[in-house]
């Protein structure tokens, strides 16, 4: 049966033109549509976006005439862009630190042979299964300054502590980091937990025999060994900070653009105001920001996989 099938396959392949009988060529042929699609839809498109950022296209009708640095000058002089840069720093600091610290803490606790581990793990990762739009919607309701969480805080006796959350004209961005971390810290927890589980028990035992306490164990053994996981978490949360779009789209940009982001600014300029050139400049800027974050990561992962 086996040989019969392969004999049939052989006779079939005899019908194909000669150059197609080579399996290696068939393989390349099968991959070709994907290569072309990715090349066009990712790389040509990125180049195109770059080009549009140098064009005069600032109304609905297509206009690709060369405008030099006009859009870039407009971008650099736009106060909203300055606010967005500040917001990016605020968001990245708040979001990345929450995700990494909470993710690590929860993974370390879950690694301690906890009763109900599956329950906790499931709950911690559940927000990641829903859309960021859902996160923004629920948290917007919870962070209404006159009520929501503030009501709980007041009931606990801290009536004078009434943060404005995402309505805060300066620090609204930090309130948004909570919405982001709510979704992604569970993901980081899962990464760390997998990393911790991969550390051989002998290592821990050896360190304990050497007299290491829990803190020393983490400081000198676990945290250094988990460095690749931390690297992954930094890259993923960093990329998430740059691309942040959903939450401002749901809750608005706040007073004085306090909760605006580059991603939302790009969207509004391009698809609401038809300033395609300016939008493309913002998009290009976002791409350029991402490269130094991703490149070292991918190179280090690839090098590791080769070994």
């Amino acid at each position: 049966m086996h040989s019969e099938l392969s004999a049939r396959a052989k006779s079939l392949s005899a019908l194909l033109p000669k150059w197609l009988r080579d399996d290696r060529k068939i393989a390349i042929l099968m991959l070709a549509p994907s290569i072309i699609a990715v090349a066009v839809f990712i790389y040509v498109f990125m180049g195109w976006t770059l080009y549009i950022s140098f064009s005069n296209w600032d109304r609905p009708a297509l206009d690709l005439s060369f405008a030099g640095l006009k859009n870039w000058q407009r971008l650099v002089n736009d106060p909203r862009f300055h606010i967005d840069l500040r917001n990016l720093v605020l968001f990245a600091v708040g979001y990345m630190s929450q995700c990494i610290v909470i993710g690590f803490l929860l993974a370390a606790l879950l690694n301690e042979r906890i009763r109900g581990e599956v329950f906790f793990r499931t709950v911690f990762l559940m927000p990641f299964a829903v859309s960021a739009v859902v996160s923004g919607t629920a948290w917007r309701w919870l962070q209404v300054p006159s009520a929501g969480i503030n009501l709980l805080i007041a009931n606990m006796g801290f009536e004078n502590f009434r943060p404005l959350w995402y309505m805060h004209p300066k620090l609204g961005m930090l309130a948004i980091t909570i919405m982001g971390a709510w979704q992604f810290s569970g993901f980081v927890m899962a990464l760390y937990l997998a990393g911790l589980r991969a550390i051989p028990d002998e290592l821990r035992e050896a360190a304990v025999i050497d007299g290491a306490g829990t803190i020393a164990l983490y400081r000198h053994v676990f945290i250094p060994m988990l460095r690749p996981v931390t690297f992954t978490a930094i890259v993923l949360t960093g990329a998430g900070s740059i691309g942040n779009f959903e939450i401002p789209s749901i809750i608005g940009t706040g007073p004085g653009f306090a909760t605006d982001t580059l991603g939302f600014y790009m969207f509004e300029q391009t698809f609401r105001s038809s300033r395609y050139g300016l939008g493309a400049a913002v998009a290009t800027f976002m791409l350029v920001l991402s490269i130094p974050l991703i490149l070292p990561y991918l190179i280090s992962v690839l090098r590791e996989e080769k070994e």
Partner: protein
């Protein structure tokens, strides 16, 4: 010593329970608010239990978004299936038929994975308009299939790379070609990976928002994520409808996550390159 151990043990659980509450509160409030009729919605009563069980908000939200829900289904299923199959084929080529430069191509695929979507939006709209697919469900499906290629190829590649080359070489000697090996050796081993990648793609496509908003902004054709946004930009915010809508939109992905959590977890670990 035992006192200290007891204290340490209960602190652990206290921290875990506190965080479990943090992750669950938004779901709790969504359910609570969704179960109240509009006249009982006041931000001061956010924590109060509903006076009686009232599914009116869910019914109303569903009536307003049922077409969006089915749009999401119509987009997610073909998008996930096509991108998963493409990923399997590509992963097979990358892992077992590597050619000069195939590593560079894989690298470029993966690189695209981490870039912000805004970088390709303007040309995407332009090309979809050119193809007559802008504002159409098929246009968005096509976009999801293409932008799904990097992650699905990567996930399959990582799995197929772990399939011993000897298996492939042995069937080459038996006279199997490219497709013969794929069908007899690779596909029968791929079931679990298909499940992992399929679950991952379904969740990602269902939850996607930016591209959906740009390509399918039209309220009648939009998927659920865009429909939630439309609830939130009404003049006076109908919190009950919004929460009900957000919950309805989350039911499929939460159900998949609760039933297939292990697959979900594997997709997460492999996709972040740390599995």
């Amino acid at each position: 010593m035992s006192w200290r151990r007891l204290l340490a043990g209960s602190t652990k659980y206290a921290v875990l329970i506190a965080f479990a509450a943090f992750y669950l509160v938004p779901f709790y409030v969504m359910i609570l608010t969704g179960l109240k009729p509009l006249e009982d919605i006041s931000s001061f009563e956010i924590w109060n239990m509903p006076k009686s069980l009232d599914f009116g908000s869910f019914r109303e939200a569903w009536n307003q978004m049922d077409s969006n829900f089915w749009n999401s289904v119509r987009i997610t299923i073909p998008g996930a299936i096509v991108s998963t199959f493409l990923g399997s084929l590509n992963g097979y080529v990358f892992a077992k038929w590597g050619f000069r430069g195939s590593n560079v191509i894989l690298f470029l695929f993966v690189f695209g994975l981490f870039l912000p979507g805004q970088g390709i939006l303007i040309p995407l709209v332009w090309v979809l308009q050119f193809m007559g697919l802008y504002g159409k469900v098929n246009g968005l499906i096509m976009a999801y299939c293409i932008f799904g290629i990097p992650i699905t190829s990567l996930l399959f590649y990582r799995y197929y790379a772990s399939v011993p080359d000897e298996l492939v070489d042995a069937s080459k000697i038996d006279g199997c070609g490219f497709f013969g090996i794929y069908r007899r050796i690779i596909l029968p081993l791929s079931g679990p990976t298909f499940a992992v990648v399929g679950v991952w793609q379904c969740t990602r496509i269902w939850n996607e928002y930016l591209m959906a908003l740009v390509v399918l902004g039209n309220p009648a054709r939009a998927p659920v994520t865009v429909a939630i946004k439309n609830f939130s930009s009404m003049g006076v915010i109908p919190w009950n409808l919004q929460m009900a809508a957000a919950l309805i939109a989350s039911v499929p992905t939460i159900a998949v996550y609760l039933m297939l959590g292990k697959l979900f977890m594997r997709g997460l670990l492999e996709g972040s390159l740390s599995g």
